[in-house]
């Protein structure tokens, strides 16, 4: 069992200034997940008549992309290739002090405590992250166009992005390039995505800039912290797509 000191960002709402508050927790089992440790804290706070710490979470199995904690200066905490909800307390030691903060980026305003507003991501997808095909039951047979396995697998790898925003939170420029390039790449690698390729990349990048995300300076921090291991290769591919699209006008 572990005793820990938590230093947690508390902020009542978007207008509040916010500050770090210390909370001791005790009796933490190494088999608990990080979020279950926060559950323990919250139950104690509620029982003491205090307000629990607000944090985003839902599936708790690393796939919905809801959880978004900046733990000891790293998005999703000390382990690689997992989300905060998959992080277990066995990654920490008795007596540790743990800093827990929200994602920090101008395009992700804080809603409350550790919860931020990531709707900018949705708006980027709405600008072009789709293939325009109506539902009819008359589209061609799924096997009509064979797709080279290598391309299909790469498209899949790009498509596994969970939209959590760790890439933005980890980037010193708060750039969303990894997120946007994952979707652009998925479709760029598939024959179905070719028809709208030009408009897609131009519109998504335009929306990305309008949302206030920073520029990419190729530091690669996003790739390191991405829980799904989305590759920087996607950014290079998007840059090529963007250049080609710009020349086409």
């Amino acid at each position: 069992m572990m005793n820990l000191t938590l230093k947690i960002w508390r902020q009542k709402n978007a207008d509040d200034k916010g500050k770090i508050v210390d909370y001791p927790v005790s009796g933490i089992s190494p088999d608990m997940s990080f979020l279950e440790m926060l559950d323990v804290l919250n139950q104690e706070l509620i029982e003491k008549g205090e307000e629990p710490v607000a944090f985003d979470h839902d599936c708790r199995e690393g796939i919905c992309g809801t959880c978004s904690l900046y733990i000891n200066g790293r998005a999703h905490g000390p382990q690689t290739h997992i989300t905060a909800c998959q992080l277990h307390m066995r990654s920490f030691n008795d007596g540790d002090t743990i800093y827990i903060e929200p994602w920090r980026a101008n395009a992700f305003p804080v809603i409350k405590d550790l919860i931020v507003d990531r709707s900018a991501f949705d708006r980027i997808q709405q600008a072009g992250g789709f293939i325009s095909v109506n539902t009819s039951g008359n589209t061609q047979d799924a096997n009509a166009i064979p797709i080279e396995k290598e391309h299909a697998d790469k498209a899949f790898d790009a498509a596994t992005c969970i939209g959590c925003g760790a890439c933005v939170a980890s980037c010193k420029n708060s750039s969303a390039m990894l997120f946007v390039s994952a979707k652009v790449s998925q479709f760029a690698l598939l024959p179905q995505g070719q028809v709208e390729a030009t408009d897609r990349v131009l519109n998504m990048v335009k929306q990305m800039d309008a949302e206030g995300f920073g520029n990419c300076t190729n530091t690669g921090a996003c790739e390191v912290e991405c829980p799904k291991g989305i590759s920087l290769e996607n950014i290079a591919r998007m840059n090529r797509e963007y250049l080609a699209a710009s020349l086409k006008g």
């Binding site: 089992s29 205090e50 789709f130 039951g137």
Partner: protein
């Protein structure tokens, strides 16, 4: 004559859907622009429905409690989606998918609905590929398939262990296109708290903005619920933390009958519970049973040695292992349906053969698969197939390619490497087959109120086969509801916008506000989680994998008492005018506390065993579920003030195209 009219079209089974589509009313494109539809939930069913309705020209308002529609829990579905494409040429057909689904559901689903599901299954794959969903492919560039439980063909399409994610992102992309065009108005972080019924028709909802706490009125000509299942009544489950029954339950209270609440799927392969702190359980996909073999030790002394740590599972000789599924069900082996596999695991663990400290775990072992694949690869690559090291390395790579993300998830949670030692697994609550009663058009007993996907009851009977939830969600949302809803809306083309300043909206809003005030001002001494956990224990112990009359009667009483205690003593911190997760949770748990009682009542009424509903009093000598012909009906419950007063209605089930017989997987 039952008051339930399922509206199943006449004619031969295979022609019903086509005939129905030809005969129902249509709304012309210009008139669709005059009609508003509310869709609650953005999972596979709600997301695909919202997108398709918007493509057709309706004005759609879509609601989800998550911060983005992409986060609905369909995202977590792992293994795959069924479709009767017969790409493998292994004898699959629409009829066979229909047959497997009806048999898998233990002859408790509606023939016509299931046949339609099988019929549109192939369209789903075509649609998803056109949307850019990156399904797994073979080296020739064509789509790959795998097998799931309860069937003898390979009809499951997949994208590694993330099929649900890829399909949901496909539906999300289709929605995004319509949001960008202004045809869908998206309301994220909004929770539906009531349905508004005007002149007997569903005409809107009351929703709470979860960020500001504001209570909002939204009107429409029809309301569609794609709000998922109610497995979180058990507290611990593979559902997301936020998954809840509130939308469906409020609809029930407004007149929608609730069908077969006791049909719950307890999935055989989940990571076992590790302690009291546990907040949720994690599934290990059924696809693992394509390659994993399930076993426990044959001898109690080995069980003891494993539990005290003096023996490793890999040290137990082949002949000292009991591959109990292969032993009991030679024809289907490790790929028996979920209900059968779960009960068999429980049987072994109850008999004292569980392999972890709690005695509630069995092994899922990949050693044979790693060897088999490794040998194949060694031959392909011209290496020595007898070199154990080479074979193991090659085999691990194949397994990693197929199930890598699942193995990683397991390792992160359990801190053991499943490539080296067998996984430990145990059944957990995973899906609910029961849900709002709907007719063939997917309309509930409230005109204009529809239920799709897991929120309805219609296609899976008493047990759902693997990879069929994704199929049903997308079938309902892409290919069924968008047609059938037109039949109803054709009468609304002259109605005009539905006003929200009416007494019905007043009443519903006041109702919602009163409940919130009550919860906030209660100032009791116990947290919401305290009650939720307590409810979960009652449900798991008395309404879980095995049920009996006495336990169910106790459950009914205990849940009613717990509900009373909840309203007396629950403590909700904070205020109603802000982001307040405890308040949202309290509302959901309040509804689970009502649903739970109806669940137990339904299980008590059904004096037979069928699929996921196993009554200990009704089993064969071999311990298999014993169905009883006199229970060949759907139970649909009508709300009358409280769960104990609910009125029981029956919809008889008739099987004209399939012979009802003992469900055997031996």
């Amino acid at each position: 004559m039952s008051i339930l009219d399922s509206k199943i079209p006449d004619g031969p089974l295979a022609d019903k859907w086509t005939k129905h589509k030809n005969e129902i009313n249509l709304v012309n494109p210009a008139n669709k622009r005059l009609i508003d539809i509310i869709v609650v939930g953005t999972g596979l069913a709600g997301g695909s429905a919202a997108a398709t309705l918007a493509e057709l020209g309706y004005n759609v308002k879509s609601f989800c409690f998550q911060d983005s529609p992409r986060r609905a829990h369909s995202i977590a579905a792992q293994g795959g989606i069924n479709a009767a494409k017969n790409y493998q040429g292994d004898g699959d057909s629409t009829y066979r998918l229909f047959y497997d689904t009806v048999k898998g559901g233990d002859y408790r689903s509606r023939e016509a609905n299931v046949y339609r599901l099988a019929e549109v299954s192939t369209n789903i794959i075509d649609q998803c590929v056109a949307q850019g969903v990156p399904f797994a492919r073979e080296y020739g560039g064509l789509l790959d398939n795998r097998s799931f439980g309860g069937v003898l063909v390979s009809r499951t399409f997949y994208a590694k262990g993330q099929t649900g994610q890829q399909l949901l992102l496909g539906a999300y992309a289709a929605m995004n296109r319509q949001i960008g065009r202004g045809k869908i108005k998206m309301y994220t972080r909004h929770e539906m708290l009531d349905v508004v019924v005007v002149d007997g028709k569903a005409r809107g909802i009351i929703a709470r903005n979860l960020v500001t706490g504001e209570i909002e009125r939204h009107s429409a000509h029809a309301v569609v619920l794609g709000s998922g299942g109610y497995g979180n009544a058990f507290y611990l489950s593979t559902y997301a933390m936020g998954s809840n029954v509130t939308a469906a339950w409020k609809a029930h209270k407004r007149g929608a009958f609730f069908a077969n609440p006791c049909y719950t799927q307890i999935h055989p392969t989940c990571i076992p519970v590790s302690g009291d702190h546990q907040s949720k359980l994690t599934l290990m996909s059924e696809s693992l049973r394509n390659d994993g073999r399930i076993w426990v030790p044959k001898h109690k002394k080995d069980v003891e040695a494993i539990r005290n740590g003096s023996l490793k599972p890999t040290e137990i000789a082949e002949e000292d292992r009991d591959y109990y599924l292969e032993r009991r069900y030679p024809a289907f082996g490790n790929l028996v349906p979920r209900d059968v596999a779960s009960r068999a695991a429980k049987e072994r663990c109850d008999a004292g053969y569980g392999v972890n400290k709690t005695g509630e775990a069995v092994y899922l072992d990949f050693a044979s698969a790693i060897e088999r694949y490794g040998k194949e690869q060694a031959y392909v690559k011209g290496l020595d197939p007898d070199d154990k090291k080479v074979v193991t390395e090659l085999g691990k790579k194949v397994v990693e390619n197929k199930y890598g993300n699942l193995f990683q998830m397991y390792e992160k949670i359990v801190d053991q490497n499943p490539y080296e030692t067998p996984m430990m697994i145990y059944p957990a609550v995973h899906y609910t087959m029961g849900g709002l009663w709907v007719d063939y058009n997917l309309m509930t007993t409230v005109p204009g109120l529809y239920a799709i996907g897991e929120a309805n009851f219609s296609d899976h009977g008493a047990n759902r086969l693997g990879a069929s939830a994704l199929m049903q969600g997308l079938a309902d949302g892409y290919f069924v509801l968008p047609y059938t809803i037109g039949d109803y809306l054709a009468h609304d083309i002259r109605t005009g916008p539905i006003p929200t300043d009416t007494k019905e909206f007043d009443e519903a809003e006041n109702n919602v506000r009163a409940q919130i005030d009550k919860l906030i001002n209660n100032k009791g001494s116990k947290t919401v989680d305290y009650f939720h956990k307590k409810l979960g224990k009652i449900m798991w112990n008395k309404c879980g994998m095995a049920r009996n009359e006495q336990g169910l009667k106790e459950a009914i009483k205990e849940i009613a008492e717990l509900r009373e205690e909840f309203y007396k003593d629950v403590m909700v911190p904070g205020t109603e005018n802000e982001y307040n997760e405890e308040l949202a949770k309290a509302g959901r748990v309040a509804d689970f506390l009502e649903l739970g009682e109806l669940f137990a009542k339904d299980a008590l009424e059904r004096e037979e065993s069928a699929g996921g509903h196993f009554r200990e009093e009704y089993q064969t000598e071999a311990g298999e579920a014993l169905r009883r012909p006199e229970y060949q009906y759907v139970s649909a419950w009508e709300y009358k003030g409280k769960p104990s007063e609910a009125v029981h209605h029956k919809e008889p089930l008739e099987y004209e195209n399939i012979e009802v017989k003992e469900r055997s997987y031996k």
